[in-house]
């Protein structure tokens, strides 16, 4: 499925590439026009989109497990907006458009994303529990605040507003291989850590007290999950903008399909997230072709109804607690 989605994403676009042309380009390298489009535009974009989808779904799965809350998602709990603020702040400093300069952006995004999750966490906490409604409400509030600051920064900056806006709505507008290379280290480290946390997340589902009685160093594990998930989110946001709902939808669907075991859920969610975002990206490119929609609009159009469905469901069913 992932391979099919990637193939689709490579071939579809304002200049469609036929399968024959793909084969030819693969043989002859970047000589032909199709080959150029393929290697310098489509392929890096496809990889970037797939990495972003994996990052969002992976961190969404981790956040849901961490907060023991089916509505946790990097977007809904405000981490994405917080990271976006950090990224825009870093961009407004106008680092040079090089791989190294680009790497500073996710670092800033990571720092402010981490700060955001700390604030949301503190606001939502009642005693030792984090009620679902509190988590979402404080997430929305902090998220709005961060978004407002981001808009302010963008209006003040002399750069091209339209481009920044498109980025913020989630469009992989940066092209070429540089963003892929700059994203790679954060992405690999963040997801690499998250993938080891399946067992710990399983134990955490029983609550902090039981987890500790089962021998899990709870505080340390929680901190590690937050750091890894926020790093992953920040990396995705820095290069693809704020894309909602991927981190909400994928863990849910997978949980229904494969059960609650996070050791299976985490790796599968990476694949699922990549497939979903690739599909959304292809849609974003063809719906109003030759104009491109920001992919965040597509995921929000599909994700918001899904969110409402989950909200209804989690109120009725004993699915989670």
């Amino acid at each position: 499925m992932l391979a099919a989605a990637m193939l689709f994403s490579i071939l579809v676009g304002s200049v469609p590439i036929s399968f024959a042309a793909l084969v030819e380009a693969l043989q002859s390298g970047a000589e032909t026009t199709a080959g150029k489009i393929l290697f310098s535009l489509r392929l890096p974009r496809t990889i970037l989109v797939a990495m972003t989808g994996a990052a969002l779904a992976g961190s969404g799965t981790a956040y849901q497990g961490l907060f023991r809350n089916p509505l946790a998602d990097p977007y809904l709990i405000g981490v994405a907006s917080g990271a976006g603020l950090g990224a825009v702040a870093a961009m407004s400093l106008r680092w040079p458009y090089t791989t190294l300069g680009l790497m500073a952006v996710p670092l800033a995004a990571f720092a402010s994303g981490l700060l955001t999750v700390a604030i949301v966490y503190a606001l939502a906490k009642v005693g030792r529990a984090i009620p679902a409604s509190n988590l979402i409400l404080s997430g929305v509030a902090v998220s709005s605040f961060a978004t407002a600051l981001t808009s302010f920064l963008m209006l003040r900056s002399s750069g091209e507003l339209r481009r920044a806006l498109a980025w913020l709505l989630g469009g992989a507008t940066m092209s070429g291989w540089q963003p892929v290379l700059a994203l790679l280290p954060y992405w690999a480290v963040g997801l690499g850590i998250l993938l080891t946390l399946g067992h710990a997340l399983n134990v955490l589902q029983f609550g902090d007290e039981q987890a500790q009685q089962l021998g899990l160093p709870v505080t340390r594990v929680r901190r590690l999950i937050i750091i890894a998930a926020s790093l992953t989110t920040a990396a995705a946001v820095s290069f693809a903008g704020i894309i909602g709902f991927v981190g909400l939808i994928i863990p849910h669907i997978l949980r229904l399909l494969t059960g609650a075991d996070y050791r299976r859920l985490l790796p599968l969610s990476l694949v699922g997230g990549a497939v979903l975002l690739l599909a959304a990206d292809v849609l974003a490119r063809v719906l109003l072709a030759p104009q491109e929609l920001p992919v965040g609009i597509v995921t929000a159009l599909a994700g918001a109804p899904f969110f409402l469905w989950v909200l209804r469901r989690s109120r009725q069913a004993s699915f989670w607690s």
Binding site: G198, N202, Q205, G215, P217, G259, A260
Partner: protein, 265 residues
């Protein structure tokens, strides 16, 4: 084996346990009784390392438990929680297997020996046929036995049970405590898995008649203080209980059994 020395604990400055001294022996069931708010659950939380003691110590064979990392402590003390707070989407087998956590690596990799222990524990608690089912679908009695099995595979010398019978009907109350008693008095197989002998169990109980029937010794807690500690007949005295629970109680000879009966006057 487990020794509690001059133990005090507090929640947000309020004293909940005051200078407790007692010990738990291998192969005995020690029932902890007392009115609501006496500090029974707090005692379980302190013993299991959730709440650090304000002063005093909990020692296992001379080792201070507060100084041990969580995994090592979980190899010595297992807790059977109340059945309410269990995520429903795991299978019974998965839940029991999590009892192996203190012995597993970071990835939770399990070995055939772990499978064997889980199998054994589920057999002993008569939950083997529940293994593939989601715990969300189980009855309270079934779930409580699954949680007992989870504590068993921790193969600890100490078991703590916090009001394990609260949400169960009479049949399950009896059968659960029978199983615990059986495990303590006939620990063959599972308890020896980590080199300890028969385990000792500390059980918080509300029903004094269950205490009379199953406990080897009884500890009466009143307002965080140890009011009495001794055999069933020593502690289940009408005056002492009446005073502790604030209601007139009688202890009468059971006409059909060996254990005394506690009745409200």
């Amino acid at each position: 084996m487990l020794e509690v020395r001059d133990l005090s604990a507090a929640y947000s400055g309020k004293h909940v346990l005051k200078s407790l001294n007692f010990s738990l022996q291998a192969g005995e069931m020690l029932a902890v009784i007392g009115p609501n708010g006496a500090g029974k659950s707090t005692l379980v939380r302190v013993l299991s390392g959730i709440l650090p003691p304000q002063s005093g110590q909990v020692l296992f064979n001379g080792k201070n438990l507060a100084k041990l990392p969580p995994a090592e402590r979980a190899q010595l003390i297992a807790v059977v929680p109340q059945a309410r707070s269990i995520p429903p989407a795991y299978t019974a087998w998965q839940v029991v297997m999590l009892g192996r956590t203190p012995y597993l690596n970071w990835f939770g990799q399990t070995s055939p020996q772990d499978d064997e222990l889980v199998h054994l524990a589920m057999e002993r608690t008569s939950t083997l046929e529940l293994a593939p089912r989601l715990v969300g679908e189980l009855s309270g009695g079934e779930l409580q036995r699954v949680l007992l099995a989870r504590a068993l595979v921790q193969t600890t010398p100490v078991l703590l049970l916090d009001e394990p019978t609260t949400h169960l009907d009479l049949q399950y109350q009896i059968s659960l405590l029978k199983q615990v008693q059986d495990l303590i008095h006939r620990p063959a197989g599972w308890a020896l898995a980590n080199g300890h002998g028969a385990p000792g169990a500390l059980v918080v109980l509300h029903d004094l008649n269950l205490v009379a029937r199953f406990a080897d010794r009884v500890l009466l807690l009143v307002q965080g203080q140890l009011r009495a500690l001794g055999s069933v007949s020593e502690v289940l005295q009408p005056e002492m209980l009446s005073e502790a629970f604030g209601i007139a109680l009688d202890v009468v000879q059971n006409p059909i059994g060996a254990h005394p009966l506690v009745v409200a006057r």
